[in-house]
Subunit: 360 residues, 2 copies
């Protein structure tokens, strides 16, 4: 069984590694052989907007998927056979912050107040309604905090507007959240679903740093699952999806969604019975899903900018290293480390040990 | 970092998969590219007794190891650089049932009574001392029950002797055991050790069928670890070792040892914090070992002769499939399935489900 993946980064790499034991071969489409997926599996070298290359990939696999949501929708739609999962409707929505907000509204999943912005006037009127601070964002192609401007004062309005390119923008109310959380969920071709425990995410400079599994059986866990279920059902979705929320006083406000395996789900490799990567493959190949139950007390740390000494990290007995094989670069995700622990006290101890080793 | 493995079967395959996340590339030496390791990593195609091929492998890796104990010792000794782990002393001992028994004797690890046999007279005299039934075995190159003859009656003595080739034999007292167990242990270059929980093994026709982790903190678990520790220390061993014992009334009698990752340790991939494959790599690369603690209640089933329908197996939510990518053949190990469970009751239920699906 073969699966084609648009993109050859660490997500495709980990998908490939999850596939091997099941006899599933992942083939990546990436602009260079020298990519994380290329270290572990075959790569079709080419651009994912190149119809010829897409065809070359599609012809040798049983299903096509992708590892990033900024895939060109017409390119994906041009693939007639085999099936592409998740289907392009989820891509279109998640690529456009306004469509995304409208979608959440349409299924009664709460969002921050927002307005489309195409002129300074739009922006001023919106801010009169939602107040300051507010966040101006590009509608499309933002990631890791890029394409965003936090407006704290009236005087910044014009600067924000021009800095972000002065069109196709959205302004959102700044949510004063207690914590940021995300829900990893999965739905198979058969309609079967599974939901991982919610994680608390910490971002610094717009980049995810840590994800900690919320193991207590909280209301917020139930609430997230009910929202995720609505999303999956409404989209007739197939594959893994990640939905990010702001938690405010026990309520959840949807921020955005990613129609793919997600960084905040990397802990599932060791921290859940079945990883998000394996369940994504099972989902798109019409196989039964595996249990998404959490094992122990997991926490994930991203390795950013600089590789730590692996021999130091591995001194922590419950640490698992994942090195993606990328060159060091400021702000780049190079790998991740998952700590698993038998209780929350031992997790705290391990976190302390790891903290002293992880410096950018 | 690169690791050369003599052999390209499923053990090398799973070692390769364990290495990728740590940035460790495994390269196998195997007589054909079309082998389980070849599905996931690079293979140097050649015979492991071919000095030229050994040199070709050795030159491109940082350490050499092997996946089967019947490696040619002079071949291994011919590798001057890099290091070969486990060192050839363990190979020599485990290749010869008499040396093995002598070794266990020398460190006061109990064994069955045994005698070398090079003539029918030897055999008759031995059987007078140890009684019947007794097991006649070839000293060297037995595996999966091959090269063995269970002698139940005096009349079978001559037949057994001639069937096994009439020289270099050993006869052993037949132990009336309560169960067969094995201990997977690991020792690193630094001398650090880790011990997995003992497993109970069930063999049918000489081939391992199931391994069930003994999670209760029993005396026999402690005893096995103390014996394994003696073995590791005495051999100044580096890497994973498997030691098989007969359990009789709470005592352990060593049967044999394998200086490598072992089928009865496959459960550690999902069932332990760190798998035997990862810990073997860490051990031979002078890295700290990971925790060998058991996670949940794991049990492993070998898939033999015929592949079950993977979509059926995966209906069991806690089942993990490992398909090695081999052609079906009577008596061949094609893969394994690990069940993990949150308690022994749910394990029993899963075993029942799986039992109906696994038929040879």
């Amino acid at each position: 069984v073969k699966v084609g993946v648009l993109g050859g980064g660490q997500l495709a790499q980990m998908m490939a590694l999850a596939g091997f034991p099941l006899g599933i071969k992942v083939i990546a489409l990436e602009s260079t052989q020298d990519c994380p997926a290329g270290l572990v599996t075959d790569v079709v070298v080419g651009d994912y907007t190149d119809q010829q290359k897409l065809k070359e990939l599609a012809e040798q696999v049983d299903v096509v998927t992708y590892e990033f949501e900024n895939v060109d929708v017409p390119s994906v739609e041009s693939i007639e056979t085999p099936n592409v999962y998740p289907a392009p409707n989820a891509l279109s929505i998640s690529q456009d912050r306004i469509l995304e907000k409208c979608f959440f509204d349409s299924i009664s999943v709460p969002t921050a107040q927002y307005f489309p912005v195409d002129s300074v006037q739009d922006l001023q009127q919106a801010i009169e309604k939602i107040g300051l601070p507010a966040i101006l964002k590009t509608r499309r192609f933002g990631y890791d905090g890029k394409g965003q401007f936090m407006i704290k004062a009236q005087e910044e309005i014009e600067q924000a507007f021009s800095e972000l390119g002065a069109k196709n923008l959205i302004v959102e109310q700044k949510i004063n959240f207690d914590r940021e959380v995300s829900c990893i969920a999965v739905r198979a071709v058969s309609g079967e679903t599974a939901f991982y425990d919610l994680v608390e995410n910490v971002h610094v400079g717009g980049i995810l740093r840590t994800s900690t599994v919320i193991t207590e059986n909280s209301n917020v866990n139930q609430l997230a699952k009910s929202y995720a279920e609505k999303v999956l059902t409404e989209l007739n979705y197939v594959g893994v999806i990640a939905i990010e929320f702001f938690e405010v006083k026990g309520k959840l406000i949807a921020n955005e969604m990613a129609p793919r395996v997600h960084n905040s789900g990397h802990w599932t490799i060791e921290g859940a019975v079945t990883s998000q990567f394996e369940n994504h493959l099972r989902a798109i190949l019409d196989l039964p899903l595996g249990s998404a139950d959490t094992v122990g007390y997991p926490m994930m740390f991203n390795v950013i900018s600089k590789h730590p000494e692996i021999s130091e990290i591995l001194k922590i007995p419950y640490a698992h290293c994942h090195v993606y094989g990328k060159q060091e670069r400021q702000g780049r995700k190079l790998g991740h480390i998952t700590l698993s622990a038998i209780n929350s006290e031992s997790l705290t101890q391990e976190v302390k040990l790891l903290g002293s080793l992880l410096k950018e």
